[in-house]
C-alpha cells in the first residue's frame, strides 16, 4: 500500500499557462517585422492518479499513473505536454532585404495533456 499522495488543487493540474514571447526580448526585432511578439503559452502541472477526462490523457499515461501510485520512487508521473498547437505567420526581412512571409506550424500551445 502506497502513501497517500498530497491533495491536488485544480490550479496545480496540467494545463496551458500564459507565456508571451516578445521578439525584442530575444534580440530579433531588427529583422522580424510582425508580429512583435505572440502568446505562445506553455504546459505545466501535475498528472495525478486517477487521471480525469479533462486532462486529455493517453492510455499509456493512465497506466503510468497507476504504476506511479504503487511505486512513486521507481516510476514518475506522466508529463504534462502540449497536445494541440496552432500555427502563426511571421513577416521578416532576409539577408537580401527581401520581405518574407513564412508560415510556422506548432507555435502556440492551445491544449495540454498527460
Amino acid at each position: 500500500r502506497s502513501a497517500e499522495p498530497p491533495p491536488v488543487t485544480p490550479s496545480s493540474l496540467c494545463k496551458p499557462r500564459r507565456l508571451y514571447i516578445s521578439f525584442s526580448d530575444v534580440g530579433w526585432e531588427n529583422w522580424i517585422i510582425a508580429p512583435q511578439g505572440y502568446l505562445a503559452n506553455y504546459c505545466l502541472g501535475e498528472c495525478p492518479f486517477p487521471l480525469t477526462a479533462e486532462l486529455n490523457s493517453t492510455n499509456h499515461a493512465i497506466l503510468q499513473t497507476m504504476v506511479h501510485s504503487l511505486d512513486p520512487e521507481g516510476t514518475p508521473q506522466p508529463c504534462c505536454v502540449p497536445v494541440r498547437l496552432s500555427p502563426i505567420s511571421i513577416l521578416y526581412y532576409d539577408n537580401s532585404d527581401n520581405v518574407v512571409l513564412r508560415h510556422y506550424e506548432d507555435m502556440v500551445v492551445d491544449e495540454c495533456g498527460c
Binding site: 530579433w28 513577416l91 532585404d97 520581405v99 518574407v100 512571409l101 508560415h103
Partner: protein, 229 residues
C-alpha cells in the same frame, strides 16, 4: 545562448540570423495575407492546410517578394516608338535547396493617379523577354539569346500589370542560369509618330518598379504535418 539561437533559427528554416541592411516597405499583398491569417480563429487554422497558400491556391508555406535589381538599358539612340527598356533581375539564390518553387508572379507597377486624357490614351505595348545569355553593352535588343515570353497591349488604366512567370522561375532553379529578363514598353505602332518627344510615352513616366512574388514549399517544414494527417 548563441548555440541555442542558431539551433532555433535552423529549426525555423534559417541558416543564420538575418541582418537586413535596409528596411523597405512591406508589400501590400504580404501584409494583407499576414493580417488575414492573424485574424483567423485557431480552429480554422487547424482545419486549413498549413502547407497551402489559399490566396493563390498553390502549395507553399513561404512567400517572398523580391525587389528588382536590374537597371535601365540605354543603347545610345533609342529605337523608334520605344518608351522604356529595362533589365529585370531577381536574385532567387536565397531560396534554400529543400524549397520547391510553386508560383512566381511578376508585378509591374505604375504610380499614376489619374486616368489618361484622350490625347494620352493611346495604346502601349509591353514585351517581356527572357535572357538566355549575358547581354553586351551597346547591343540592340531584341537580340539573339532573348526569348519572347509575353506580349501584351495595354492602356494605362491600372496601377499594375501581373504576369505568371512560374515556368521561367522553375527553370531558373532547375535547368539554367538566371540571367534575368528584359522589359520593353513601346508606343503602339501605326500612329506614325516617334515615341520620344511625342505624347505616347508620356504616361509611361509613371513607371514605378517591378517585383517578383515567389511561393515555395519547404519540404522540411511541411513533411511533419503531412505525416500527422
Amino acid at each position: 545562448l548563441s548555440l541555442q539561437e542558431s539551433l532555433l533559427l535552423k529549426s525555423l528554416g534559417l541558416s543564420t540570423k538575418p541582418s537586413p541592411k535596409t528596411h523597405g516597405p512591406v508589400p501590400c499583398v504580404l501584409w494583407r495575407i499576414f493580417q488575414r491569417r492573424k485574424t483567423l480563429p485557431s480552429t480554422s487554422k487547424d482545419l486549413g492546410d498549413a502547407c497551402r497558400v489559399e490566396e493563390f491556391n498553390v502549395p507553399g508555406n513561404i512567400i517572398r517578394v523580391f525587389a528588382d535589381q536590374g537597371h535601365f538599358i540605354h543603347n545610345g539612340q533609342p529605337p523608334r516608338l520605344l518608351c522604356l527598356r529595362k533589365r529585370l533581375y531577381f536574385n532567387l539564390s536565397v531560396l534554400e535547396e529543400d524549397e520547391r518553387l510553386t508560383m512566381a508572379q511578376l508585378e509591374i507597377k505604375f504610380s499614376h493617379n489619374s486616368y489618361p486624357s484622350p490625347s494620352q490614351g493611346q495604346g502601349l505595348e509591353l514585351r517581356l523577354y527572357r535572357s538566355s545569355r549575358l547581354a553586351l553593352q551597346g547591343t540592340p535588343a531584341p537580340e539573339r539569346g532573348q526569348k519572347l515570353l509575353v506580349e501584351r497591349s495595354f492602356v494605362q488604366l491600372h496601377k499594375s500589370l501581373v504576369f505568371d512567370l512560374s515556368g521561367v522561375a522553375k527553370d531558373w532553379r532547375t535547368h539554367s542560369r538566371n540571367l534575368g529578363l528584359i522589359l520593353e514598353i513601346t508606343e503602339s505602332s501605326g500612329d506614325g509618330a516617334s515615341a520620344l518627344g511625342s505624347g505616347g510615352c508620356t504616361s509611361i513616366n509613371s513607371f514605378l518598379d517591378t517585383s517578383l512574388l515567389v511561393v515555395t514549399l519547404s519540404q522540411q517544414q511541411c513533411r511533419a504535418s503531412r505525416r500527422r494527417r
